[in-house]
């Protein structure tokens, strides 16, 4: 579903955000992309979702070449950015319909599809609310609804549960699992939370300073009774928890 080779991004000014990234994600997997702030998670995510052009390297995403066939990639992927994409003062219904239509659906199809997706995410009846009036958990599920209107085979979630209370986080995990189970959707997500990586992901990729430093199922990485936190500390020399505390992102 995703295959990259030598994928790199150097920003103007010489910052090498991602270096020589080679990853592979199989259809139906839920893969967690773990790393401290500034490790290159979001940059990778933005490259894989066609929002940022790689400096070098190649990638095939959802069966199409990222640089040659960006439009075909866009048709097949859903992306939820870290901050989401909801206007606080506009009713969500019209925005959802517009989004579906930008994916090529007719107004009627888009409205019907929005209804289905919202029902699946337990959001039915809220489509006439304004974005600004929603709780954090519901808002996040609406963000995901926007990304599911075209029934993508591959869903990218950038820090999906950051800032949510424990109950909303667990609820969102259930929805992500259900999505894979019912639709076979492949999910590629970044996270700060080790418990999230542990509970939700089949496989983890740990990135630091723009490079993959470890890879494997949570159970494989946690050998010898160590927690993922220990693993992370060993590999990067930093604790993800401290990192999170420093940036106020919670852990």
């Amino acid at each position: 579903m995703i295959k990259t080779s030598g994928l790199s991004k150097t920003f103007d000014g010489g910052v090498e955000a991602v270096r020589d990234l080679g990853i592979s994600v199989e259809p139906g997997e839920i893969v967690g992309f773990l790393g401290p702030n500034g490790a290159g998670k979001t940059t990778t995510m933005r490259m894989l979702t066609t929002l940022l052009r790689p400096t070098s390297g190649t990638a095939t995403v959802a069966g199409h070449d990222l640089s040659a066939d960006a439009k075909e990639v866009r048709r097949r992927i859903g992306y939820v950015s870290q901050g989401g994409g909801i206007l606080p003062t506009v009713p969500l219904k019209g925005e959802l319909e517009l989004q579906g239509m930008l994916y090529g659906l007719s107004r009627r199809e888009s409205a019907a599809r929005a209804g289905e997706v919202l029902a699946g995410l337990d959001l039915s009846g809220l489509e006439n609310s304004l974005g600004g009036t929603l709780s954090g958990g519901r808002r996040r599920r609406f963000d995901i609804a926007f990304a599911l209107l075209h029934d993508p085979a591959l869903l990218f979630l950038d820090e999906p549960t950051t800032g949510l209370d424990p109950q909303s986080r667990a609820n969102l995990w259930d929805h992500i699992r259900a999505l894979r189970q019912e639709k076979g959707t492949t999910v590629f997500l970044t996270t700060h939370y080790l418990d999230e990586a542990d509970a939700l992901c089949d496989r983890l990729l740990i990135i630091d300073h723009g490079r993959i430093v470890a890879e494997g199922a949570p159970a494989e990485l946690k050998t010898g009774g160590r927690t993922l936190d220990d693993v992370f500390l060993d590999i990067t020399g930093r604790s993800l928890r401290e990192e999170s505390a420093l940036t106020g992102k919670g852990a």
């Binding site: 929002l51 989401g84 994409g85 606080p88 506009v90 019209g94």
Partner: protein, 241 residues
Amino acid sequence: MLRDTWVLFRHGVGVTLRQKVGIIFGAIQPLLFLVLFGPIFTTFGTWETLVPGLIIQLGLMSMGLAGFGIVFEKRSGVLERMRVTPASRLALLLGRVLNNAVTLILQTLLLLAVAFAFGLRAPALGLATGFVLVVVLGLSLAALSYAVALTMNEQLFAPVMSTAVIPLILLSGSFLPMSMAPGWLDALSHLSPFRYVVEALRDLFHGHYLTGTVGAGVAVTVVLAVVSLIIGTRVFNRENA
């Protein structure tokens, strides 16, 4: 591309028309000039000379700040949410710009209606031609405004743009014809593309159609439109816009 443009345009117009106060507020400054300055101007000039200037003032103020909307869309992540869809990048720009044109059309009609009440009497053909010219100019300004909004620091956009339009309006000879200006100011104002459009509108409103001034105004407007749309699309195409 056309379909995506249409989809975005219709959505945008729906949102715009719900904000009637916003449309009127965007036209408030030229309306104030019309009502509180027009009666003085017309003691020595004509409404047909003043109103074209006020229309350009309206275009610059209303469309020049069009980019402010995209700052919100960018900050709230809405723009990026649309950029991951297969919609054409040009459509993402055009759908918005055409929606801004609807706002400008309504504001210009309002201004013309009030001007008519005060005594503006221009021939229908002159009004219609001038109207088309203003709408095309407005499209260019909106596209440029988006390009600036997506390029410069978000916090600076509103203060910088609302200040930048003032010299552009003054140099276009909006309020008083540049023929009254001292030589250096007159020369300087020839650098402003808007001067040519104002003068073309004045000719049109006086019923003079086939003049060099009208030709120059049309040419400047067309060139500006092409350049602005190219710049706007390039910025929309750029990766981190």
